[in-house]
């Protein structure tokens, strides 16, 4: 099964998978918060495109609803909320220099290899290349986590959190052509509530430590010192 024998739809899905993976990497190497949020919105948009493409090729109307939800939540609402927060806190000017960007990037690349390695045992269970999309989505999930580890800003943590969701969503859409409607609605609802809660949390963190740098949240210890 080489690329040239696949139909255009599959090729397009694979390219989108690669682009989504790329956006994850771009986010990982991004020090400026506003640009980070922009790339996150871009990833959401690619996800919307993927969903719409799958919906079109399978003629599955409920996936159009998922696509619309993704567009509304991950391309418009959450980036808008985060952007507002960043501008309000006047953080869009300082460069959140990542201390060891190269190491983080290389870590990201090895995570991608790792996710392929993890999924390798189930490769032969399918003839379709769609399974490979699972590897990409797992790496998006892992890269989202790495992003959360590498950054200190709460806003970046939220972006990482949501990009983990993006990875999961991509897996659900591509590898399995969408979960049952009730589950998808439930997940979208959870994401919405989580986004609202994050907004509330920004307020709380700001009022309590007067910053959104979560490294300052360091009062609690595993054992008392």
């Amino acid at each position: 099964m080489t690329l040239s024998t696949m139909d255009f739809y599959t090729q397009a899905i694979l390219s989108l998978a690669a682009l989504i993976g790329l956006t994850s990497f771009l986010m990982l190497g991004q020090g400026r918060l506003l640009r980070l949020i922009f790339i996150f919105a871009l990833q959401g948009f690619l996800l919307t495109l993927t969903t719409a493409l799958v919906a079109y090729s399978l003629d599955n109307p409920h996936l159009y609803i998922s696509a619309a939800l993704t567009l509304a939540l991950k391309v418009i609402f959450i980036p808008w909320m985060l952007r507002k927060e960043v501008i309000k806190m006047n953080m869009h000017r300082d460069v959140q220099a990542l201390t060891n960007k190269t190491a983080v990037m290389m870590g990201g690349a090895s995570l991608m290899v790792f996710s392929y390695y993890v999924l390798h045992p189930i490769v032969h269970t399918t003839t379709t290349v769609m399974l490979n999309a699972l590897a990409v989505s797992l790496s998006v999930v892992l890269l989202g986590m790495l992003l959360m580890i590498a950054h200190r800003q709460a806003v970046a943590h939220v972006v990482g959190f949501m990009s983990v969701e993006n990875g999961l969503f991509f897996a659900a859409i591509v590898a399995t052509n969408g979960m049952p409607m009730v589950v998808e609605l439930g997940v979208a609802f959870d994401v919405l509530v989580a986004a609202v809660l994050f907004g509330i949390f920004f307020l709380h963190i700001r009022t309590s430590i007067d910053s959104l740098d979560v490294d300052l949240l360091n009062r609690l210890h595993e054992v008392d010192k």
Partner: protein, 488 residues
């Protein structure tokens, strides 16, 4: 089946009712009545299941079998007694000026929201919905952890939110893999995530995909169970949130996360016909158990102390479910019950003790038995029970776990015994001083309702002395369902 709908509708009504009606003197009492109503509905459901066996709703959206029905009853019961405790407790916190009406409104509304999520986790037949409800439980409780709005509580809530949110995302990936496996056997569509359907076809599912899926599911739900090394959120959330929250987190949330893991393990075992899932659970369970017992010694905050004790017991349960087989499963089910009852009783007592002393630091809590004997005795007996002394139920279940271990993996028994011993020492070196120590000047009793504590501890005692026939029958049925063979 109507009872199941009632169980879900009552808390749903509660959320809306508390959110829109605002807070008044009677809200706490009304919360109790709602939980009593839920409890009655669960009893009704339980009787239906006892008489008629497994229930499956017509659209297959809900599944009630002997395994989850007892957890449903347990959830409703602990929820009810905790609400009894929470009414005067929260009123007292308001008097101290820590909370205002708006926060209390949020508290009661989210209390019901949490109960709804818990019932949904337990009753649903769809493992996707189960995930959604589990995440919903996080979302409902995260604002409760930060209810006091102190920097510590906000930090704890943020940690809880991020760690559980990211952790449970792994479980969703596992669920997607399960779905992927289901689609492969031509079972796509809306039914493919139904547990009952998957369970029927379990042997046809691809074992390799399911093994992988289980790793992700265990990691994801394991974060919620509080398995080491994903446990960091648990002591923080327990210690910084209001005490009734700690009681229901320890007593219910951890159980339900474990329930989700066991449900998925049943599918995986059916497909792989191997012990792989069990070994994973045993490994993580044992690790959590051993790590937690050592951390018990290093704590200074009383609620952190008992949350590490929760990690310890959840580890033990996970280990027991991992061993598999009838005896170990039976022991794990019993342990789930007695731990829930005991731990929520302890947290209730601890809440009162902290109010008496005015601090959660163990160095500040002294001479409880002289100031308010009821609380002192409650804490002492609760600790005795949780440490696994006979004749309490925890002793019985731990004994059964040890027995099962000796039978299957004798070389692990010394580790367990050692852990139990260290945990005992860790608990008592702290508790003794708090209960019997010198009473500080000017320490006054507080208004406390220890009725729930007494009921819980009495039940645990009863379960330790003799497990009533219907309950034993119930556990046997659940064991048969999970492990495929009847106990003893």
């Amino acid at each position: 089946m109507i009872a199941a709908y009632f169980i879900l509708l009552i808390p749903l009504f509660g959320i809306v009712f508390f959110a829109f009606l605002g807070h008044s003197e009677n809200t706490g009492r009304f919360n109790v009545w709602l939980n009593v109503a839920s409890f009655i509905a669960t009893l009704w459901l339980a009787i239906n299941v006892l008489n008629g066996g497994t229930l499956l709703s017509e659209d297959k959206a809900f599944l009630i079998d002997p395994f989850n029905v007892y957890l449903i009853v347990l959830t409703a019961f602990v929820g009810m007694t905790t609400s009894v405790f929470s009414a005067p407790y929260m009123a007292h916190e308001k008097e101290l000026g820590k909370l205002n009406d708006a926060r209390l409104k949020l508290y009661y509304s989210m209390f019901q929201g949490f109960m709804l999520a818990m019932y949904l986790v337990l009753t649903t037949n769809n493992i996707g919905v189960m995930w959604v409800a589990m995440e919903g439980a996080t979302l409902a409780t995260v604002l409760l952890v930060s209810l006091y709005r102190t920097p510590e509580s906000i930090e704890a809530a943020w940690k809880y939110f991020i760690l559980c949110g990211v952790g449970i995302a792994q479980a969703l990936f596992g669920t997607i893999l399960l779905y992927y496996a289901a689609v492969q056997i031509g079972d796509g569509g809306d039914n493919a995530l139904l547990w009952s359907v998957l369970f029927d076809h379990a042997d046809k599912l691809n074992p390799e995909i399911l093994e992988l899926a289980f790793v992700f599911l265990l990691m994801g739900y394991g974060t919620k169970i509080g398995l080491v090394p994903l446990h960091n959120w648990l002591p923080d959330a327990h210690s910084e949130g209001p005490t009734p929250m700690s009681a229901i987190l320890s007593g219910l949330l951890l159980n339900d996360a474990l329930y989700a893991v066991v449900r998925n393990k049943m599918l995986v075992d059916g497909a792989t016909h191997s012990q792989i899932a069990g070994y994973l659970m045993m490994g993580f369970g044992l690790l959590s158990f051993l790590v937690a017992v050592f951390f018990l010694h290093r704590q200074k905050d009383i609620k952190r102390l008992f949350s590490y004790s929760s990690i310890e017991h959840m580890g033990l349960m996970t280990f027991a479910f991992g061993i598999g087989g009838a005896n170990a499963t039976f022991a794990a089910l019993l342990h789930m019950t007695v731990h829930s009852l005991t731990k929520s009783a302890i947290f209730v007592t601890v809440g009162h003790a902290a109010q008496v002393a005015g601090t959660q630091s163990m160095e500040g809590i002294r001479g409880l038995i002289k100031t308010q004997p009821k609380i002192g005795w409650g804490l002492l007996i609760g600790t005795v029970a949780i440490a696994g002394f006979p004749p309490f139920g925890v002793f019985t279940s731990e004994f059964l776990v040890l027995l099962a271990t000796m039978h299957s993996y004798p070389w692990l028994t010394p580790l367990l015994l050692l852990g139990i011993g260290i945990a005992f020492a860790g608990l008592f070196r702290h508790i003794q001083a708090m209960v019997f120590g010198e009473k500080p000047e000017g320490q006054l009793p507080v208004k406390a309702n220890l009725f729930p504590v007494m009921v819980h501890l009495a039940l645990v005692l009863w379960l330790g002395l003799a497990i009533p026939g219907f309950l034993a029958h119930w556990f046997s049925q659940a064991t048969l369902l999970i492990s495929g063979s009847a106990p003893l």
